[in-house]
C-alpha cells in the first residue's frame, strides 16, 4: 500500500512538473515528456504487466492536466510501456553502460512514436474534443519533434541515476526484467 502511495505521489509530482514547471522553463513551447520517460524507464525494468497500472495513471493525469479527451495519453502511454517492455525482452542487455545506451535508444524511439501519434490524434481531437481539424503530414511531422528528442534525452540522462537510486531507496519494485543488471 505504501509502495503504491509513493508511486502515486511520484507520478503526480512528475505530472505537475511536466505541466507547470517545464512550460515556464522552456518558453519555446516544446517541453520534455517526463511522464513518458518514467513509463519507459519502468517498463524496461519491470515489464509491461507491472507497469500497466502506472502507465494508465500517468496517462490519466496527462489527459486531465492537458485538458484533452481522457484516453488519448492513457492509450499512448500503455502502448509505450508495452513497446518498451517487448524491446527489453527481445534485446537482453547486461552491461551497465549498454543498459544506459539501450534505454536511451528506446527513449528516442518512444519520443518519435509518441510525438507523431500525439500530433495525429491531437490534430483530430485538439481542443474541446471537436472533430474536423485538418491534419496534414506537416502538422504530424513538425520540427519540434527533433527538439523534443534532445530535451527528453537530456532529462533522461539527468534523471536516470537518481531514478535508480530512488528505486533502491524505496524498494518500490520486485523482480527486474530478465537480462538487466541485478
Amino acid at each position: 500500500m505504501a509502495q503504491k502511495a509513493v508511486i502515486f505521489i511520484f507520478i503526480f509530482l512528475a505530472a505537475v512538473i511536466q505541466f507547470s514547471f517545464f512550460p515556464s522553463l522552456f518558453p519555446l513551447g516544446t517541453c520534455p515528456d517526463l511522464l513518458l520517460l518514467l513509463v519507459i524507464f519502468w517498463a524496461l525494468r519491470e515489464g509491461f504487466e507491472k507497469t500497466a497500472a502506472r502507465a494508465v495513471l500517468a496517462g490519466l493525469l496527462a489527459d486531465l492536466f492537458r485538458f484533452q479527451p481522457v484516453g488519448v495519453d492513457i492509450f499512448l502511454f500503455s502502448l509505450a510501456a508495452f513497446g518498451a517492455s517487448s524491446l527489453a525482452k527481445r534485446f537482453l542487455v547486461s552491461h551497465r553502460t549498454w543498459e544506459f545506451f539501450f534505454t536511451s535508444g528506446v527513449v528516442v524511439a518512444g519520443t518519435i512514436v509518441y510525438a507523431i501519434s500525439f500530433n495525429f490524434i491531437g490534430g483530430i481531437f485538439y481542443s474541446k474534443g471537436g472533430y474536423g481539424q485538418v491534419t496534414t503530414l506537416w502538422h504530424i511531422l513538425d520540427w519540434s519533434i527533433a527538439l523534443r528528442i534532445i530535451l527528453n534525452l537530456a532529462i533522461f540522462a539527468l534523471a536516470f541515476r537518481p531514478l535508480e537510486k530512488i528505486e533502491k531507496a524505496f524498494e518500490l519494485y520486485g523482480q527486474r526484467m530478465p537480462g538487466f543488471r541485478k
Binding site: F12, L13, A15, V16, I17, Q18, F19, S20, F21, F22, P23, S24, L25, F26, P27, L28, G29, T30, C31, F48, E49, A52, V56, G59, L61, L64, F65, R66, F67, P69, V70, G71, V72, I74, F75, S78, L79, F82, I121, G122, F125, Y126, S127, K128, G129, G130, Q133, S144
Partner: protein, 258 residues
C-alpha cells in the same frame, strides 16, 4: 489481454469523450495540484528569467543605444497621443464602450500553460472560490484582452487564449468602425475575418472587442491589423492581427467580474 482491454477502453473513452464524467475528477486533481503548480510555475519563471537576464547582458550596449532612440521617439509620440486621447474618448463614447477603469478586476497569477506550445490555454490561480465563472473576459494590466475563462475549479481556472483555434471574439476596427470576428490561428496568432467587403480595413489600425455577444465587454484592446486579404470565397475581407502581448510570457492577468 491487459493491453487490449486498456486500449479498447481508451478508444471508447476518446470517441465518447464524456467530459461531464471527468470534470469532477479533473477538478479534484487540479485542486490537489494547485499549490504545487503555483510553486513550480513561479520557480520555472524565475529560472527562465535568470537565464534571459544572463543572455541579455551581452546585448546591453546595443539595447541601451536602442532604448535612448526609442525614448526620444516616445517623447514625441506622447505629444501626439494627447490629442488622440481626447479623440479616443469621443470615439468610445460614440461606440458606447465601457470605460476601462470601471471594471471589477480579479488579479490572478498564471500557474500553468499549454505544454504543446500551441498557445491554446493558461491556468490561473483563481477559481470559483473567488467568484470566477466561465465566460468571463481575461485581460492584462492595461486593458488588453487575452482570453476567456472556460473551465472553473475551486482555486484555479482554465483560460482559453484568443490564439486558441476555438476562440472567436466579435471585434471592431477602432479607426474605421469595420466589424468582424477575431479568431485564433492554432496558437500562431490572430486574424480578423467576416469583415464585409464594403468596410475599410487599414494596416496598423487598432482592433478592439466590440462587446457584441460572448459576454466580453467592448473596448478591450486586441491588437493591430497587418496583411489584409480577401477570404477564399471573396465575400469578406480578412487580416492578420498582431497582439500586443506575448501569450507565452503571461505572468499576471486580470479576470473581469461583472
Amino acid at each position: 489481454m491487459k493491453l487490449t482491454l486498456t486500449l479498447a477502453v481508451c478508444i471508447l473513452l476518446v470517441f465518447l469523450n464524456p467530459r461531464g464524467v471527468f470534470s469532477p475528477v479533473r477538478g479534484f486533481f487540479l485542486t490537489l495540484a494547485y499549490p504545487f503548480q503555483k510553486i513550480f510555475y513561479l520557480t520555472g519563471n524565475k529560472i527562465s528569467g535568470t537565464f534571459s537576464f544572463l543572455e541579455s547582458i551581452s546585448n546591453l550596449k546595443n539595447e541601451n543605444k536602442g532604448l535612448i532612440g526609442e525614448n526620444d521617439r516616445l517623447a514625441a509620440e506622447i505629444a501626439s497621443l494627447q490629442g488622440q486621447k481626447r479623440e479616443n474618448e469621443i470615439l468610445r463614447e460614440q461606440l458606447k464602450l465601457a470605460p476601462r477603469d470601471k471594471f471589477n478586476l480579479e488579479s490572478s497569477l498564471v500557474i500553468g500553460q499549454d505544454p504543446g506550445g500551441l498557445g491554446g490555454w493558461i491556468m490561473i490561480d483563481k477559481g470559483s472560490a473567488q467568484g470566477i465563472a466561465p465566460g468571463m473576459a481575461v485581460i492584462v494590466s492595461d486593458g488588453i484582452l487575452v482570453g476567456k475563462v472556460e473551465d472553473v475549479y475551486w482555486e484555479s481556472s482554465k483560460v482559453n487564449l484568443l490564439t486558441d483555434s476555438s476562440a472567436s471574439v466579435s471585434a471592431i476596427d477602432l479607426e474605421t468602425g469595420a466589424k468582424g470576428i477575431v479568431r485564433g490561428e492554432y496558437g500562431l496568432g490572430l486574424s480578423i475575418d467576416m469583415v464585409a467587403q464594403t468596410d475599410t480595413l487599414n494596416e496598423g489600425d487598432t482592433v478592439v472587442a466590440s462587446g457584441l455577444g460572448s459576454g466580453i465587454p467592448g473596448g478591450l484592446y486586441i491588437g493591430k491589423i497587418q496583411r489584409i486579404s480577401a477570404t477564399e470565397d471573396k465575400l469578406f475581407q480578412k487580416a492578420q492581427v498582431v497582439p500586443k502581448v506575448k501569450y507565452s510570457k503571461l505572468e499576471v492577468v486580470f479576470v473581469i467580474k461583472p
